[in-house]
Symmetry: C2
Subunit: 585 residues, 2 copies
């Protein structure tokens, strides 16, 4: 990789080591994140930081981590989970179009990495979107971590795949600097399609005991091996040529770019009691945001007519990216877009976001400002059955320490929470339901990240019932029945699952004899119940959880809420049985 990296940094790319985030600078993503040391060496050589820092590699006090993260100012997305960097590169390339910049995006992959399916999702989207501002390089070094790679040095295998997927494929000797530069040149001249440079290399090149040898992946040399290697390499240097590397760097033209800002978003306009699906409200407010904020982009995976993101497409088709049925590149591309200043809203059925779970994990590692929207959550989708029911999504996003997780129950809260998520800095997830639900909040109601709404309360409340999304309405039904039976309860809409309103929850528990029941259209692990339990544990309160506790099946939504224990009748039973007993210790 030494030759490829040297060519990129000191001949091909336009960038500013002192301002790596210059909006018109070319991007470089190291998709094979395990090669981090050469990335750090290149930036040090370019003058971005002191070369002495390199010796702190992988130390707890240094940002030069084992794999690159955006803790470093020149890293756009965290890499190290293979096959992701190339998806993020799609997003970087799309952003150049969005801001009308001529910056180019370079991404370096390992050969073994191209076995990951996400690479081929990116390959499809890259050619469909005719991203000729994108140039990928595969370091075909033949050796994976545990053995030789799938296609070893059979370059035709790579070439025919990338060609079939619509890319310009260029096979070169990856140690021939002139060939590398020519390939970059050809890539720059190629119009209407992205380029993949397939560089045949020898791992450990130039050192007699490592060149082309297996068994050196992720392995440090011993001191005597290192001395031998350095001695051998020094013999191969061209001596007597003195260049100051930073002098070779081509900087991007400096351009005035006005700050992109957000205009006010028109408030919701519903009538209390109207039946509106939260996904429909999502589509509507997304379309409003399209007109209020030039940074917003929306990404779909062929379900826009169900998530209603097609309402965004109608008003801003140039900022709507259709990925077809490919959730990994949808989220990966969003990570790249976010890294370049766009505010991306990828949306699909919540269960299919799970296809991109590892991308979501890496977005958390990188702190990328992505706004996930997952619709059709839970058993309340009904007849389509368990394959379409997200029951793990709150756990997936809630587990990430820097994710904000919101869960509206009606159209007004959906619109308001989408705008809040859009304005906050950092990754977030909005959980959206399929069924129509009645509007319960007035249009001017305000919400807060980390807030909750007490929907019913009295000084006599015997228990607190906490719902979210569709179960808020089950809780309200249970309230009516229990009230008629002489047992008043407090009802809470926990629209902010992470962060959660600790004070508000503890206050409710205290005011209702310590009796707390959660009810959620999600499995018991990692959802509303666990969030509430953790929030009130230090105050000494426990939670009785109503959640889906077995693999569900097809049926009508109301039948399923009943069958899987999260309907009003189950809440009534839980409250009744709790009120009839005293807390045991």
């Amino acid at each position: 990789m030494a030759e490829i990296t040297a060519a990129l940094f000191f001949a091909e790319m336009r960038f500013d080591p002192e301002n790596p985030q210059n909006p018109d600078a070319d991007r470089f993503i190291l998709s094979k994140g395990h090669a981090a040391p050469i990335l750090y060496a290149a930036w040090a050589e370019a003058g971005a930081f002191d070369r002495a820092e390199l010796l702190k590699l992988r130390e707890i006090g240094s940002d030069l981590e084992g794999h690159p993260t955006p803790r470093l100012p020149f890293v756009d997305v965290a890499t190290g989970s293979l096959g992701q960097g190339v998806c993020a590169a799609i997003g970087c390339a799309l952003n150049a179009r969005r801001i009308s910049s001529d910056y180019r995006t370079y991404v370096l992959l390992g050969d073994g990495e191209t076995a990951e399916g996400s690479v081929w999702e990116a390959a499809n989207v890259g050619s469909l979107d005719k991203l000729d501002n994108l140039c990928a390089i595969t370091d075909v070094n033949r050796l994976g971590q545990s053995q030789a790679t799938m296609w070893q040095h059979d370059m035709a295998q790579f070439e025919r795949r990338w060609t079939a997927f619509g890319w310009r494929a260029i096979v070169i000797d990856g140690h021939d600097i002139a060939a590398i530069l020519d390939a970059f040149d050809e890539a720059r001249k190629t119009k209407g399609q992205p380029t993949m440079i397939l560089a045949r290399t020898e791992k450990g090149k130039g050192v007699s005991f490592t060149e082309g040898k297996d068994g050196w992946h992720g392995k440090a040399m011993k001191k005597d091996e290192l001395e031998k290697a350095v001695a051998e390499l020094e013999q191969q240097f061209v001596h007597g040529v003195n260049v100051n590397a930073p002098d070779l760097i081509r900087k991007p033209e400096s351009r005035q770019r006005p700050a992109e800002t957000m205009k006010p978003v028109p408030p919701p306009s519903y009538k209390i009691g109207d039946q509106v699906a939260t996904r429909e409200a999502f589509g509507d407010v997304l379309a409003k945001l399209a007109q209020a904020d030039p940074r917003i982009v929306a990404l779909d995976a062929d379900v826009k007519n169900s998530t209603y993101s097609d309402r965004f497409e109608k008003v801003a088709p140039e900022r709507f990216y259709e990925n077809f049925i490919a959730e990994q590149v949808m989220v990966g591309s969003a990570m790249g877009l976010a890294a370049r200043g766009a505010i991306p809203w990828p949306s699909t059925f919540a269960c299919f976001l799970y296809r991109a779970a590892d991308f979501i994990r890496m977005a958390a590692v990188g702190g990328n400002n992505i706004k996930l929207d997952g619709t059709h959550a839970g058993v309340s989708i009904g007849e389509d059955g368990p394959s379409q029911m997200a029951l793990e999504d709150l756990a997936m996003c809630g587990a990430e320490p820097n994710f904000t997780v919101l869960y509206p129950c009606d159209a007004v809260s959906a619109e308001r929470l989408v705008v809040l998520a859009h304005q906050l800095k950092g990754p977030s997830y909005i959980r959206i339901s399929r069924p129509k639900t009645p509007v319960i909040y007035p249009n001017d109601e305000t919400f807060a990240i980390g807030g909750l709404k007490v929907l019913r309360e009295s000084a006599q409340d015997e228990a607190t019932v906490i719902g979210a999304g569709v179960t808020v309405f089950e809780a309200l039904k249970a309230y009516d029945q229990l009230k008629a039976a002489g047992t008043p309860i407090r009802v809470i809409d926990l629209y902010s699952v992470a962060p959660v309103d600790v004070k508000g929850l503890v206050a409710a528990a205290r005011a209702t004899k310590g009796r707390v029941i959660t009810v959620e259209d999600h499995y018991a692990t990692g959802g509303v119940g666990d969030a509430v339990a953790e929030a009130i544990a230090d105050a000494g309160f426990t939670v009785h959880r109503l959640a889906v506790s077995e693999i569900p099946r097809s049926g009508k939504p109301e039948e399923l809420l009943e069958r899987f224990g999260i309907s009003a009748s189950h809440i009534v039973s839980a409250v009744t049985s709790m009120v009839g007993t005293t807390a045991v210790r």
Copy 2:
């Protein structure tokens, strides 16, 4: 799909409608699970069940769900999350080799579905493994859910991709029965590579107002539309030909297959105090199981030298499947293998299992008997940094109601728990660590699914500290320090995270003044803390959780345990502060 399905069921496949699980019967997987109604119609026509049942489609009382699940005896894996059935088909085809059967595997994909990266992971593995007993069909009907597909009816786009990936590609008119039969015939004669039949079709064929028209995806006809459609179709029937469909079915040859059974596994042989990584013990016991059970197979994604699954490969190379860096097909293939009676152990770094999260979800839906092993869990991996640290994996697997989740802390428990997981029926996950840890259990120690071990106890214990994996040793260190300071604590190794030993945990809480502390190398959500909190909530006890609560970074393992709040010193502080206060209500 009518013509393709009719040809498959009543001319091509060998199967027994009365015994769909015959080990030598051809397999049919409907990867485009949303086409379930035609699958059900075909099996009804074949005589597997009464045609009147078809009218109960999607009803809560019927197993004819919105998308197929193995609740039906003729369904191997649940489909409906696109791009998965083809991965499972790889596993079915591999199993035919394992049991020396000539059964063939057929899998039907949608065209839109082939945008999923997992399809191309399967494409690679299918050609690498030369699976000529595998025949896939793509129904190229041009219309996705929300719009026309990526490549519409450009059959060359499909053909060049599949050819590039090493498959025999055959393009046909999918409405031409003779062409379909010829293609199946060619596929059967093709040696050394799998076949992809690319069938150009018109969605809604034969009905004037649906044929080739957008807007009918997942949409039921109105009554008058249905009458018109049926009338139009009846005009096109060949009348006067009376065939009894079941008479056309070719049954598999009946063969005697002795039941596959498991021999005893040699016990562990370690010395107390030896430093052994649990991943090494995992590799060793996997190799023992290879010799004890003909059903076991192991699957890797190019990390076998780190997970030590290469020790299995050494003793049973013919049952070891290398998927290279492609976790989705690794898990999907395992699902197919499990459906056919193999007991598959896919293993990789725990963080990279997350790449297959949606496959794991679907394995739970289908109840497939897969045995996941995730190594290098948590911050204790050290310098490689956050991209390589699984901190969500307990939540991922623990959320699924039918998953067993085990977490050994030493080599003896690792060996014992792997054998227990192997013997139980149903999906399971074993969480394994990178560092060497001391052996604490004698070789004859016994463990149980749903058990725990009390490692330290006295009648004076002031608190219970619950660890698992690497944190067990932090808890033991804290015990020594606290004991020296006059504060005895109870220490529990919670090696079974799901199911969890409710009685054992409640007893410990009761015996230690209700003071319970969990400490885990995992994020706070969905891990050990949440599992314990839920287990003891109904008894009125709460949990104080020590868990990783921010995005971690590179560093030495012990530095990271300290920095992220899960080391002995943090346990000592937590106990001290808890003992110094009284529970608040």
